[in-house]
């Protein structure tokens, strides 16, 4: 072979491998930095205690407020978003809605999906002021729900669209109505994809800080009602990393490690569940 061509081939190959190595190195770097800083700060009291003397300056206590708060926020939002997203994804099937209307709705979902979370945060705050709700668990849940709906609905829509038409035809051929077909066939066939969508949205929701910055507030306490402000892991990282007090910074690192671990575990579960629920799937 012509040596020039050969050299070009080799050069680009090296560049591409270098790019890929760079990407994996950043992943490894992030995990490493967070793990090193986090593991040094992590202990039992960090997980089970709330901060003492204020989250910004108080040296004692842990991040139980943020862990529990995040779980409250995201669990609530996941449930609400699921209740809206699943019907949306199912109703986007061509049996229920015209091609035009479906295309428009998908476009709207795409725009919502791309909308920055800070915009959701600002919008949520406007709505809350309008309704007279203060920064609270309820406010945070509502805004996170809005943020998660497009993520979930789009993923579910993809899964529903992958259901082979012949399969639906089978149910229709037996005299099933649209609802019966949707519930008995489409839902079950798309179940792995639907679960993946839920978990994906959960992962995105738990890590999002910008949307809950003004809407959920932050507090040292674990909320006891929907109207209480609530702490969260991403904001625990954000607020506490910037303080001059090393003990407080340690809480930020611990929160970051827990958050990262949750996100990675959620990613793993999504894969496993997708596989687990595919028992009845027809290929």
């Amino acid at each position: 072979m012509n040596p020039k061509r050969n050299r070009e081939e080799k050069l680009f190959r090296i560049l591409m491998v270098a790019a890929l190595v760079l990407v994996f190195a950043s992943l490894a770097g992030i995990i490493l930095v967070v793990a090193m800083k986090g593991l040094a700060s992590l202990n039992l009291s960090m997980i089970i205690e709330t901060p003492k003397g204020g989250y910004y300056l108080g040296k004692e206590g842990g991040i139980a407020n943020a862990i529990v708060g995040s779980l409250y926020l995201v669990t609530g939002a996941t449930i609400l978003a699921f209740l809206i997203s699943l019907p949306v994804a199912l109703a986007l099937q061509k049996e229920y809605i015209g091609r035009r209307a479906a295309a428009i709705t998908r476009l709207v979902l795409d725009i919502l999906w791309g909308t920055p979370s800070i915009v959701y945060g600002a919008f949520g705050f406007v709505i809350m002021v309008y309704l007279g709700i203060r920064a609270s668990l309820l406010g945070g849940i509502i805004v996170l729900t809005l943020l998660m709906i497009p993520i979930m609905a789009r993923a579910m829509d993809e899964a529903v669209r992958l259901v082979p038409f012949e399969l639906k035809e089978m149910a229709y051929a037996m005299g099933a109505t649209r609802v019966e077909t949707t519930l008995a066939v489409v839902f079950r066939q798309a179940l792995p994809g639907i679960c993946t969508g839920v978990i994906l949205a959960f992962g995105r929701g738990i890590g999002d800080a910008a949307s809950i910055l003004f809407t959920a507030g932050y507090t040292d306490e674990i909320p006891t009602s929907l109207m209480d402000p609530v702490a969260s892991l991403p904001l625990a990282v954000f607020f506490q990393a910037g303080t001059p007090v090393p003990e407080v910074q340690a809480r930020a690192f611990a929160a970051a490690l827990i958050l990262l671990a949750i996100v990675i575990i959620v990613n793993l579960i999504a894969r496993l569940l997708g596989w687990r629920f595919s028992k009845h799937i027809v290929r």
Partner: protein, 257 residues
């Protein structure tokens, strides 16, 4: 027994005509084979008979198909009821994404048949119903010990017989079969054909096939389509021994396929 009469049926996809002016009366309790070269509209004709065509976009149907004298394209027609009376067996046996048992129980459940049969229903009635239809489709002995397994785990031949059991489970009067053996190995195909011969005692079976030998083996009555036109239709014996049309002769002799 439902009687099907097709009058001036025209079907087109968008601006592309697929069936031109089909007039046909289907004889009862026989196996009727629709044959013809691929792309001649066999499957379209078949699917027009239980309005599965409605699921396609841009399809337009004119003319009428009378089921016991009632036009099934009448807007007042209950399509689910029509499809219950005119069952459909697909080319590729897509099992529904559920267990073997549920696959067969699905039809009776949606149509409420299991409740009405055996005088009261309940789990036991449903079980006997499922067993009945699996036996009828010749599958019972192979699956009786694993009814709760996913239907997707069955072999493709078993899946097709499961599809047959599924069709039978809604107690149709007519069975439409779209090349039901084309995806099967010879042994499974033979099993399905045998079931068909038994079933024609009680059902009208309309079969689309591109295998002439299968039509010869099974059919009592032949409908020959060519490029969307109904060329000729007559009892099988007459069709094969004394065809009228030149195209029919060419097709039977294998000059066109």
């Amino acid at each position: 027994m439902a009687h099907i009469q097709i009058q001036q049926l025209r079907v087109s996809y968008g601006s592309l005509p697929v069936l031109n002016d089909i007039n046909l009366e289907i004889p009862d309790r026989q196996i009727v084979a629709i044959i013809g070269p691929s792309g001649c509209g066999k499957t379209t004709l078949l699917k027009s008979m239980n309005r599965l065509l409605d699921l396609n976009e841009d399809v337009s149907v004119t003319g009428s198909i009378l089921l016991d004298g009632v036009n099934i394209y009448d807007p007042a027609m209950d399509v689910t009821c029509l499809r219950k009376r005119v069952g459909f067996l697909p080319q590729r046996p897509y099992p529904l994404p559920m267990s073997i048992f549920e696959n067969v129980a699905f039809g009776p459940r949606i149509h409420g048949l299991s409740v009405l049969s055996a005088g009261g229903g309940g789990k036991q009635a449903e079980k006997s119903l499922v067993e009945h239809y699996l036996r009828l489709a010749g599958l019972w002995d192979e699956v009786k010990d694993r009814l709760d397994e996913p239907a997707a785990k069955l072999s493709i031949g078993q899946q097709q017989r499961l599809a047959l059991a599924r069709v039978l489970s809604i107690e149709p009067e007519v069975i439409l079969a779209d090349e039901p053996t084309s995806a099967l190995d010879p042994v499974s195909a033979k099993l399905v054909e045998t079931q068909f011969k038994l079933l024609k005692e009680n059902y009208t079976i309309i079969l689309v096939t591109h295998i002439l030998r299968q039509a010869r083996r099974l059919a009592d009555y032949i409908v020959f389509l060519y490029m969307g036109d109904l060329i000729e239709h007559k009892p099988a014996a007459v069709f094969f021994s004394a065809p009228d049309d030149e195209k029919t002769k060419a097709y039977i002799s294998g000059e066109i396929s």
